[in-house]
Amino acid sequence: MKPAIFTYRRPATLHEALKLLEETGDEGKVIAGGQSLVPMMNMRLARPEYLVDINDLDDLRYIHPFEEGIDIGSLTRHDELERSAILRRLCPIVPTAAHFIGHYAIRQRGTIGGSMAHADPAAELPLLAVLLDATLTIASLDNTRSQTAREFFLSMYTTDLQPNEILTAVRFPVIPPDSGWSFKEFSRRAGDFALVSAACTMQLNSSGSVEQLHLALGGADLIPISVDASIASFIGERPDARWRQAVAKAALNDLEPMSDVHASTQDRLDWLALTVDQVLTQSSLRANVEIGEQASHTPEEEKL
């Protein structure tokens, strides 16, 4: 359980880090929190020749709200997401879900950028990124590009990120105060990888019918998926128990989650149906509820 030999580099600036990645090519690997990469290196599932440590790039640690969204620097730790007053007010599903990442000590070190780039199919933040169709900012030495989360994740542990690129920021939209939201996951033990998960945002109109609905599922496929297209026809109805059942059925239609030692395909489908029902219920209860804290002061930008 010891990693293979590698050459260590610790750039002081993003520019320097990107220059190193140009030189190391396929042999270079970025390390941020290391909470997924180092276990893989210890088990020799990963053997990078060069390790480019970006932990000194303090410019990539911030939570910055603007008009329609919140920009989060890729080096922001999960614990910082969990405690953020800005996120609790503007995008509360993020701190709520961040609490379920690994364990307390893991969350002190793991980063949002690392979670996205690692693209574990069970991970919490990629699921939220797909639900909210977050925008990712990706830098290389001579280019900076944006990509939506729904295009970023390609397959299990595989993203569109190239060896010479670094993910620098994740932009989440604001969840309006009158919008309901919910995140749930099912795991055998606290801190384990989720076997299935679901996340939802919902808006109701004045007569209590669903006006907007977004739903994303984890553990249903090789990547977190949005099932918005499958459930679009249910918009306009009241979110009662029968509606929730019908939505869950439509959401899971045609899905075939993997079967492994932890759970069969049918187990995963059953738990997904349960989890979807829970997030729909909680979202509908939260929608339109006056939130007393809305008037409270939100800082302009958080120093992390």
Partner: protein, 181 residues
């Protein structure tokens, strides 16, 4: 084996060692610095036995290379007892029989000491949630929870309002269907 000089700051003391970049912080703390209170269990971040503080944040020392800790303050279990006197949490775990073989104990103390500073009034559920990252195969956790609760009460008595840790807005998140070990 491509050894490089690494300077570490551990428990307020400076150590200059020569190690390969691939050497884990946990191994350097134990083998090169000689502080064997930090235990090594699973070496992939699951068991929590190797938890130390890096810049006062609880961190798995098996998921960090020693060379990464250069320029940061590392604190190990050896720094908690002062002049041979157990600290509040250590004493409480002792009194409540919160350990049997003791292998997991250093990691539990380093995790929960940091946790209690941030969350001065934890519920039993909060404590169990925070403890879920530390595996103990002897105690069944009951006495560890009792010990942490006792320490939390002493912390609460000692902190006279104004001095509680920064950013300690106690979280009682109850999302998701979670089950404990």
């Amino acid at each position: 084996m491509n050894e490089v000089p690494v300077t570490l700051w551990v428990n307020g003391q400076t150590y200059a060692v020569r190690v390969s970049p691939r050497k884990l912080l946990s191994d350097v703390i134990r083998e090169d610095i000689g502080l064997t209170g930090t235990h090594v269990g699973c070496e992939h971040g699951v068991c929590g036995a190797c938890t130390v503080w890096v810049d006062d944040r609880p961190t798995r020392s098996c998921l960090m290379f020693a060379i990464q800790a250069e320029g940061h303050a590392v604190t190990t279990i050896e720094a908690l007892a002062q002049h041979g006197q157990l600290n509040v949490l250590q004493q409480a775990l002792h009194e409540e029989h919160g350990l049997q073989c003791g292998f997991c104990t250093p990691g539990i103390v380093m995790t929960m000491e940091a946790y209690l500073h941030e969350h001065p009034n934890p519920t039993v559920d909060d404590i169990r949630d925070a403890l879920s990252g530390n595996l103990c195969r002897c105690t069944g956790y009951q006495n560890i929870v009792a010990g942490v609760q006792k320490a939390a009460r002493v912390f609460a008595q000692n902190s006279s309002g104004a001095t509680s840790a920064a950013g300690n807005e106690s979280t009682h998140l109850s999302e998701g269907g979670r089950e404990y070990v």
